[in-house]
Symmetry: D2
Subunit: 348 residues, 4 copies
């Protein structure tokens, strides 16, 4: 069985394991106050075209944690998050945002994305409300890059959303758990510098992008920077051996490694996408990143699942099933070839 | 200007003010441990066909409070509420349920109501989930009687939902902020005894049904009864002068007063409903209780709002507007006559 | 049996009941947006020497609620409250403040009071901490006026605390659940105008001071004013019939009634205090307000409890017990005479 | 400079790094559902003399996280934790427990420990309370083994506390962040099997005891086991690559490694303790584990801090300072020799 079910079922890039070994006997300051965290923060800022006064960089252990840290830190109790119906915080985090006290105001997006018009409509409904205190106050827009369905916001789309946010006083927060696979896509026209410029906070995922674990949290809005370490510690997100995060992100951001990992996985996904297209198997939606969602007939699914592990959704009433295939930094080209061949041999 | 905008813009039934005056110099035990609270609880239990061992009765000050007290007391942090998209807790309570840490899993209902099939589908999706810990665990079904759009569950519908709840281990909680207007409707076939038998908790509204303020909370499930007074106190919902609640509900539940108030308001609403029907003005949806939702043309709306206060929603793109007219225990028959006449004189 | 156990076991001053009756058929705007709330706010501001731009006035139903509304609205998640070990929020509110997510940093006070030195020490410990993110950040000082043991802060003491708060960026919040009995004490040198000038927020109690229920919340710090109505609504503290609060505080603040009620009760308490002193019964501590704490021998306690209801603490190992006697706006002078006589006849 | 300031400033035991390397290309199930987590759980259960039906074993990333996961999962909103004034949850976790909504009822312990009498007194005060709903309900006793001051509970002490817990229906939870150094002490008479038998939940620390990170959470009370994975996920404590925890604890619990690490560090600490005793430097308190607290004169402190890093508390008014020296699994014997010599050469 060959695994294409997700992008977090293998360890880390070898350079990280080597760095762990090399530094194992070094004694570091704890709680993230060490030189490796400083180096990683500098490297990330540099990749973002930022200096230390433009952006704070912190590290969380996982994505759910990074999301609720930023959101709960940013909001007062009656303020809410605007997010897509397919968003990770709404669908896959066990109500973690609500557990910190905040409602998610859901928007039904297209291909997993919010439009600036939808954000405006939501913000405007609050502004026009005669008794606004009966509803939550939208204060932060959450979006994912790439989205949970593998799609990407263009620079133009992100800029439009940003403008609405500025007009209505909303924070813009981007969940970049798969940031490498967004940046590494052929279709992408956004850079980390764009995210630093256009958002108030975003994450740069390590867990799915070459590290053992860890998400970097980049904060550019001064209000979000204040006392963020207290928020991290209170929520159990501050590693005693904080340098483990710093070490991993230092390795990922030296010499363009992070972007390289993303490109690699997107390239492999592209080969699979072409095979599906060639075969006339529907893409749901079409994705230019490392996650491919396709609709298989029951027969096709039965054949493929003999040799490959992938992630199926519920079967539709017509007997077809949308399934996800993921490539990643650790996917082997030969495994892609085998899957590609299998796709091309599928019955219609 | 005559007010039909809501059912909470006037004081209390005269009997309540008289009772306040009569008891003003009596010294009572505080925090709801007085004889008036005991009497009210007994009267409500009696109206529910319950004895003291079947049901606990507590008092909250308002509806939002009553809702989050019951819900937050019933649920563990990762458990969620199943509720309709139109539900009060989802739309009009400033994210109060989420503020206590719980997600609301929204179902798009018909005429403001959930169906047992919808509840089953939601509960079943959790049960069938391969990694359920990534999503919230539905544990309580919230519904309103009457609903926020004035409609009613039938005994058969409520029984079906109850059966699903029992099958999936869900609590069933009914928000009865307008209970009097549900019980008092000609179309209703449910009794308080049915609610006591078919639900785990429900409220009996006072604020909108004759009292100055107050909601009775009836708890029938033993797990919900435990230490509920601590929950009340912790959330600032325990009146020092608790007898004020007991007094009001005692008055409302002596001699069938509560039901009488409901019938009165429903009867007046029925006159208005007939006028709308006669005129061909669409009911959205058709309601057998004290709230009427109708779709007016811009012209009709402009005429009516010269003399009457009502509650409009946003104007639709076609220029029509859905508006709400409420009757209540304090609505004057002569005001209904005037409005009735005005409706009948509207242009098409 | 004559009750001296607390100051919240009787209804309201007659003027309030009359006002309720007079306005019972008037139709008001709901949710506190009515003219009675406006009048009450204006009267309270006027009593505080404030204009509308200096102070916002809101109404809560009870004291626990008022406390956690202000505190939770003011603080970020990792910020804490500095309060005395005897404080109401620490001892008698079922962990309501903690339930909103905030730690109370306890200081052991003298006679129920914090000193400015103690507050400074606490704030300074945080400032000097090498890794402050491991501890909570003190951000709000809570004190009660009168305190839970009946004592008063002097203007000089309050001013000193205020100066420390300004120096360390702490909010100062005063719980005035018994404000009338503080203002009405012969020993008091503070005015409502002083509280408005020296604090960021304070409450003016109605429940224990002549009303059926209700606490006025006066906010003078701009940051605390922002969106406070959303906080109220979310926590179930917004009465649908908000004018009930406005009506009561309007009555209390017309013609100096509130102060008069306080003076009345303090005067009666003073008579009792003199009797205890005359008898050599220890005051624990000595209180110039409506609550008297005295240490009775077992014999004395047994005699007094035959005819009077009061509030005992746990018996000490030496067999004595500290007990509380309360006077209030509704205490009858003849009852005080009887108790006075009984005290004077006690054995040593 | 030689570091003795804490036990978490170096990487992991070499066996862990080797295992990481060996398994780096293996594809595992994610979210802790892998065979390494299963192996680790089995090894820990075996060390506890438990079978799968006796105890659930989960993994958290850090100690603060493990503590609030267990506590918040166990308690209803109005329930509180009984803990010592020196406890980690009270002093060093940024109010994390309060942030989950729960008050900590503080007991002033001796040498960092609670006594069964103190626990009984607290629980009994609640039981005897006339209106218990005004105070929090103690429901869980938290204690640390070893304590934050390096001391140990004896089997007899723990058994006494357990008996009180059973009598009053309290959960008993032991924070074992430094469990290895408790088990490894010469003075210790408790085993993991004792903890499994005498508590409802306890943690087995990895972060300070040989791992890169991670705490094992052992749950023996059935009520605490239910849906604990949902609690973990909701609080961002579930690693996508969960096997990283399983791998580390498997290594630690194979062949008695964990106990060996503890013994090693305690042995080195004992050498230092003897030096302090020999020199007449006061132990505050006397500790049989890897943390030593001693009171140094200003002169002594100045001499020692030239070559060694340790953790000082605030200087006392008499100019002395209590400081902490830690040994650990990675402390080098030669460094201990150097420090030992330095101690012996200190002036009085």
């Amino acid at each position: 069985m060959i695994r294409f079910n997700n992008d977090y079922s293998s360890g880390a890039i070898p350079e990280i394991l080597e760095a762990l070994k090399e530094t194992n006997e070094t004694r570091y300051e704890s709680y993230g106050l060490d030189e490796l965290c400083e180096e990683a923060a500098d490297l990330i800022r540099s990749a973002c075209g930022c200096s230390g006064k433009d952006a704070d960089v912190h590290f969380a252990v996982g994505g759910t944690q990074a999301n609720f840290l930023v959101i709960s830190s940013a909001l007062r109790s009656f303020q809410s998050v605007i997010a897509a119906d397919t968003s990770h915080i709404h669908c896959h985090e066990t109500g973690a945002v609500e557990n910190t006290g905040h409602k998610i105001e859901v928007i039904f997006g297209k291909d997993g994305k919010l439009s600036s018009e939808q954000v405006r409509a939501k913000a405007d409904a609050y502004r026009r409300s005669s008794i606004p205190e009966h509803i939550t106050q939208p204060k932060l827009v959450y979006l994912s890059f790439p989205t949970e369905t593998g799609t990407l916001y263009s620079k133009s789309e992100l800029t439009s959303i940003r403008e609405v946010c500025l007009e209505y006083g909303l924070y813009l927060f981007v969940d970049g758990a798969r940031m490498a696979y967004g940046l590494g896509s052929e279709k992408n026209d956004l850079t980390l510098a764009d995210f630093a410029r256009l958002t108030d906070a975003f994450t740069v995922g390590g867990t799915k992008c070459g590290a053992l674990f860890g998400e970097a949290v980049v904060l550019t809005h001064p209000a979000l920077c204040e006392d963020f370490r207290s928020v991290i510690k209170q929520h159990g997100a501050m590693l005693a051996k904080g340098w483990l995060s710093g070490l991993q992100f230092s390795v990922l951001f030296r010499n363009g490694k992070y972007l390289e990992l993303g490109k690699y996985a997107c390239g492999l996904a592209s080969l699979l996408r072409n095979a599906f297209l060639e075969k006339g198997i529907p893409l749901c939606p079409d994705s230019p990143t490392n996650q491919l969602f396709v609709r298989l007939t029951r027969k096709q699914k039965e054949i493929i699942e003999k040799d490959f592990i992938f992630e199926p959704e519920d079967e539709s009433e017509d007997g077809t099933t949308v399934v996800r295939f993921c490539t990643s930094w650790y996917t082997k080209p030969e495994d892609v070839s085998v899957l590609r061949q299998a796709i091309l041999e599928l019955p219609q």
